[in-house]
Amino acid sequence: MISVTKSTSPIVEYHNTIGLCTMEGRGFMFPVDTAFDSNGYIYTINRGHKADPRTIRITKYNIHSEFFGTFLSYGNNDGQLLTPSSIAIDKNNNIYTCDELTSTVTIFDSNGKFINKWGHKGKGKSDLDGPTSIIFDQNEDIYISDQYNHRIQKFTNEGKFLLSFGSYGNNNSQLNLPWGISIDNNNNIFVANWRNNRIEKFSDDGKFIAQFGNYGNKEGELNRPSSVVVDNKEYIYVADWGNERIQIYDNKGIYISQIRGQATVSKWAQEFLDSNLEEASARSKANLKPDISQFNNDPHEESSHIEEFFWGPTSVKIHKNKLYVTESNRHRVQIYNILT
């Protein structure tokens, strides 16, 4: 089935959903970002919540919903994180994570064994303050969204500072609490400029190229974008977080279409329901797609009631021509085929 779009050019179709809300083990709890290794494993990092440290973990699985365990624990020691925000994987399948609270980068091998940790909190050159997104370029250098310093920092994969760009403000190239970043095939850096309600495009050495987006909830408008990714054909996918939707733009930033979410019962969820028959029976009679008009055009409220909708889409990633949308509030990943 083709996704619901308001455009005549639908370019994604729903594939499946992976996820289950759990405090530990198989499933997610407030997942915020997803990454892929070269062996077909998918890693989703869970922000969890402090009240129950078990919830803070990385869940390892594959596209077929096979589960391969979790790793990472809550804390401030090596191999632990307090407030996980993002995840990226290098060519050797080492897993890089950011901790928003401690402003550090922690590295694990693909089995979850701690390898290294670097980064320190501050406002100076090479310091980090609230890192929220991490990506690799083709040279295995790292870009980090340095949130509270309102800039993007570039490091080697060993944490050696290379350069930084962006500054606090609302003018071209300026940032205000940037969140997700990504890199296209031409090594351009895209930034979800969260509080400025727009997407910024920079060259790999930090020169401002372009921007698009204005605050609002109409087609193409943005409300606190959290993440951005670009496909092989240069279509741009934006997690329009405050509007609880994904919007798709062409390479000039012209709006093409949007999706609001079409989640279905995941394999893990189905297995849970199969073993909890009373709950499954009651659920089968429930209307989980109520009339949207009763929620006062408030996307947060709409998504809290309509289960298939995105709720808290914090990360969009593309892997093998599929779009992965990580939803923190619904504890799942919705996957879409890219048709371009």
Partner: protein, 481 residues
Amino acid sequence: MTNNNSDIKLIAHLLRRAGFGATKDELDKYNSIGYENVVDALIDNNNSQRINDALVRRYFPDQSVTHDQVGGGAYFLYRLLLTDSPLREKIALFWHNVFATGYSKVTNGKPLSDQLRMFRDHGLSKLDKLLLKLSKDPAMIIWLDNIDNHNGAINENYGRELLELFSMGVGNYSEEDIKECARAFTGWSIANSDYIKELAVRNSIMPYGKLAWRYEYKENDHDNGEKTFLGHKGNFNGEEIIKIICEQPATARFISRHLYHFFVADEPPVPAWPYKEPQDSEAIDILEKAYFDSGYDIGEMIRVLFNSEFFKSERCHYKKIKSPAELAGNILRTTNEFTEPSIKITEYNSQIGFMGQTLLNPPSVEGWHQGTEWIETGSLTERVNFASQQLGDISKPGIKKIIENIIKNEGNSISAQICVDKCLEQLGAIETSQHTYKILVEFAQNNGISDINLVNDKENATKKISELMSVIGSVPEFQQS
């Protein structure tokens, strides 16, 4: 004492009751517009510009989705600390206690946070409108079993508490009225009721986290037959029942006592009200009249209350023991630690629980008993420790600012007495008994504040003043309002 001081002390009293206290800097601003205008501003300002839900949702999804009372309680505390519309949060706290609905049975934080939002939005409106909202509130429908109140098989729980605890009080209706009331509310349910009930009983978070709840009227399950309620006869639905309830003098009196109890002075616990007259019957009469004159308008009753002599009278100053939420709200607004959401708010919310008030989870449908019941050995220790620790913490911006204000214009030295005076003034124009005052001055003297050169040894002076404020946090006048 100058008139200006009197005005400030009165406004300080108002802000302790209508909000969560105010520092001297805030009091000076309020004082510049005059007492009655402050009252009007508190009642009429319904939109705090300082609350930023997007930040909460970004950094603390557990507080915005609120699976449980931990996240929801932390969000409520965040609002108490940052709001510039304090009466809105105070009235939400008031109704949260009167219409007490608890996580222990609801097992879903979002409906409870939604209920608090409803109290915030409608808690100062007319009682009939508020009771209608309450009767359609999904958390209440689960909490008091109206989900199981069916045509031909009534569940009396909501009908009973609507009359007993939410509007009229024991002794003003019959058992038959309860049954008829329950019949009128049959069919007042929630969407997907079987599924939601199943999830609530199991406290299930699967498959995709907790769903939000919404009201649904099930016409086929409503008993549309004739009912006799409080002497009225008709094919009543819930709306008519609420109209009849709001017309009752008993309702006017019950709500008036609640407002007096919360905003003026501690009364005995609600279950004792049928047997004990109000301590100030004249005040209750005034509030009852305001209730009818305004068409059951809670905001107008409160306007009358705050402008009344019985509220302004020094006889009722410091006659209420702050609830844990009020105490923590007052302290943390003073320390000014938060300008945006923070993980620390969750910790402080836990400490409010240790003091005996777990937000979003009152102990029963009767809410928290107030007054001296807030004070027991364990909770008193928590209260005193929390106040002393926070007010003595010079790393907190609000405390730093207060100490700077105290030292400013004092030259090289400050006497113990002036230091105490200025600390009390800065912390919100606090008045103490002579006994407390003497102890504070002795402490300041013995701690050596007057021996310190404020210019050359500012660090030591700051430490000594913070120690004095730490002691002030423990005195009865600070723990009371």
